[in-house]
Symmetry: none
Subunit: 533 residues, 2 copies
Amino acid sequence: MSKERLYLFDTTLRDGAQTNGVDFSVEDKVQVARLLDGLGVDYVEGGYPGANPTDTAFFAEKRTKRATFTAFGMTKRPGVSLSNDPGLKLLLDAKADAICFVAKTWDYHVKVALGTTNEANLESISQSVSAAREAGKEVLLDCEHFFDGYKANPDYALACAKAAYDAGARWVVLCDTNGGTLPEEIGAIVTEVTRVVPGDHLGIHAHDDTEQAVANSLAAVRAGVRQIQGTLNGIGERCGNANLTSLIPTLMLKPVYADAYEIGVSDESLAGLTKLAHRFDELVNRSPNRQAAYVGASAFATKAGIHASAIVKDPKTYEHVDPARVGNRRHVLVSDQAGKANLVSEMERMGIAVGRDDPRLESLLREVKHRESVGYAYEAAGASFELLARRKLGGVPDYFDVEGFHVTVERRHNAIGELVTVSEAVVKLIVGGERLLTVAEGNGPVNALDTALRKDLGVYRDVIADLELIDFKVRILNGGTGAVTRVLIESADGTGDSWFTVGVSENIVDASFEALHDSLIYKLLRSGAKAVA
Amino acid sequence: MSKERLYLFDTTLRDGAQTNGVDFSVEDKVQVARLLDGLGVDYVEGGYPGANPTDTAFFAEKRTKRATFTAFGMTKRPGVSLSNDPGLKLLLDAKADAICFVAKTWDYHVKVALGTTNEANLESISQSVSAAREAGKEVLLDCEHFFDGYKANPDYALACAKAAYDAGARWVVLCDTNGGTLPEEIGAIVTEVTRVVPGDHLGIHAHDDTEQAVANSLAAVRAGVRQIQGTLNGIGERCGNANLTSLIPTLMLKPVYADAYEIGVSDESLAGLTKLAHRFDELVNRSPNRQAAYVGASAFATKAGIHASAIVKDPKTYEHVDPARVGNRRHVLVSDQAGKANLVSEMERMGIAVGRDDPRLESLLREVKHRESVGYAYEAAGASFELLARRKLGGVPDYFDVEGFHVTVERRHNAIGELVTVSEAVVKLIVGGERLLTVAEGNGPVNALDTALRKDLGVYRDVIADLELIDFKVRILNGGTGAVTRVLIESADGTGDSWFTVGVSENIVDASFEALHDSLIYKLLRSGAKAVA
């Protein structure tokens, strides 16, 4: 039996950007687009060119290789001609493969929010779709408030959908804009819509305001739509959008869907989903949701309760899917077995040969577990993990010793009466028996420390000359007074490679120093430097 | 038309206690039981007496006034007589109104995990239910793995359900133990079960492993069950249990359910739901999920974008329910794209009267935009925004002046040769003409600065005595060397209110100082302190 194709439309960079506290830079957007492209979604909606400088800059070039790169924007303003609508022109000029227009389809909003007539709005939909088609773009129409609009005036809501379809829109997307529609209502209304627009031209855009965005999306699929819009980890305005990170495994692993449909995500990409979800959280600086379906750290964890011993006997019947399929793993607190196998394969990846029965493995595992319990995140800091593993196995040379450091930050009035803040760091190292003191100023304490640490590394000076600090992220764990600070640093060198290191301490300067120090050692190691200490 | 009664069964204190990181004390359990009783759930499952000392102590007395206080435990062990099962005796002796037995209903598990025959398991169900009935208890049976069991052997799964019902169980609860069943499967299977056990004796126990526990619970209700099991804020093993905090408003506010069913929660209790959800999070020491349906801080928040001006015009059509019904409120976030209308409505909410044509509004808007372009995030820092707005309109007293501060962080060997890191801050203030110097040590530079800043604020000392730093978040914007640091601080005082302030600088210590300073000024302002400067 041939399967029907379902299309995934990702709006992390557009609707997801409406999330409280999320604020993408252009560079963030480039990275997220790359993640999505690798995952295998069909569409990446990058933003709203013309609405703000970030989105305009992001659309200065095409940002995806596989996925259809999509720009979001309004249909033509009623009452002006196509050529007199500068917003529309910006959209057509954006370096996008597709344009997703948003249009009102609830007659009440056409009147109150747009202040125009139903007819003028229909005309605006048709003309905008046609204009974008003529400009060589694939076209989508987001039908705003479709379900509320349908309840109020079904004929008009359907007329809007049909106008877009008739004008050549590839997709007509039914949006539950305020997120309050229930799955049974979605199913019933979509069924009606398929009488006017064929299901393989319909999409669903659901929000989680009743905690049913995933169920609403699947109800729409069962009723006939063939495109699902959503975001990574379900970010989005208010309660968030439909969570693609939950939907993808359900579509691929649950026979009800997997037997009937196929999507563009490969089994290999699926196996990277847990890692991708965590990387995305790091990128937007949110703490990963431990309880997230499929990819959460607790998704396959069992506290020793009534199930634990039975799980050890026969894990499969206690897990609704195999955690390895989504790159997650079983955590049964009574057994370390999964951890050890994991560790060995991780070390093999780094080129460290180790026997499965090597006793040092047990001790490394204990140390990793202990360190993660106090806040280290080795999943996001591969270089620090590699150093830890190599140290346990005796493979990291003793390049230099740190005697101490000293950082000051002072805010004071300068000679001309301005309030200025000055940061200064002193670092004391011992390299090859020689005591080196360096001092540097910086924008802040970490910058000063980084600069001082790398200012003079004696014999290693040339080796680290091309080392660069790319990114620096700080997270406070546990909140309140007992808080611990985790610092994640991304470094790169002339080869174009980058690596991540981590530091954890009650003290942010200490945590930063640890991560900077790991990065430096990793750089010396990867450059094959010989220890002189 | 008379409505059918739906019953809510809360298992926060039993299945919720399986949550990774949750660890209730007896006192915690007493408090949660009180919250639940006040909310109006019908059953409070308090734990598993005999399984651990906490639960045994908790069941030494009845802990609810209105709700049926329920003890959880295993059915009689196969192969021993009723009187020879000490676990069962403990259960019958617990000071509970009802007993919820858990039994295997999947033949595979009967064989593999119990190591007994299908017949012996059925007998164990019947005898346990009867014994509890004879002890004067109301009885429930949790059918473990019911849906997987039904798929494997429908006759046996149904026989288990029927055995409990025939023996006098008030409720037979269908458990989706591994959480992998989909709503359409739940609906179809429940429909079959109602042919054997009447729907008003059936319950549903769903887990969130496909992010559909709420949808699964509602699908079961539509198919006939009349009891829903779940937890506060959806805590629970793995991905959590069905979230009662989401289900209750849907059942009460969505006509599809509200017109057909009634539950034991009053409109008044519903209006306290947001507060209750946050109090519960505090109790278990989790940070509240901002995106939670109905009760999340972002559940009715809109970032300017395309909707904001329309929301100000007519909020109702943009909100699927009135936020006041669940004790939440609308937030129209001030941000990048903020319009004037937005600003005015936000200021009205803060009690700042301002005419729409006031020229200072234009200047405030420009300043907000400028500041957001350099990294401030006022949408997440309402108190800093309020200070900015009030300053523009001349309403913030000049409480004190900051002459400067000085922070040092030093890592060195202490007297006994250990490497230690010491942070110290000196703050110089002028309060009412008096120059105040304070010094403090801390875990890190920010903690030292916070402590020094609040150590002696002269005449304001008593006003700020109950000020507390709740959370501290750091974000590095733009990455790399040109990076800017944004610090977000949450503060609270004795009233239980909390507020957010923001600071932005190249220097993390500077940014922290700005946010701490804003928080202090905000506290003085909200306490009505008089300026002496």
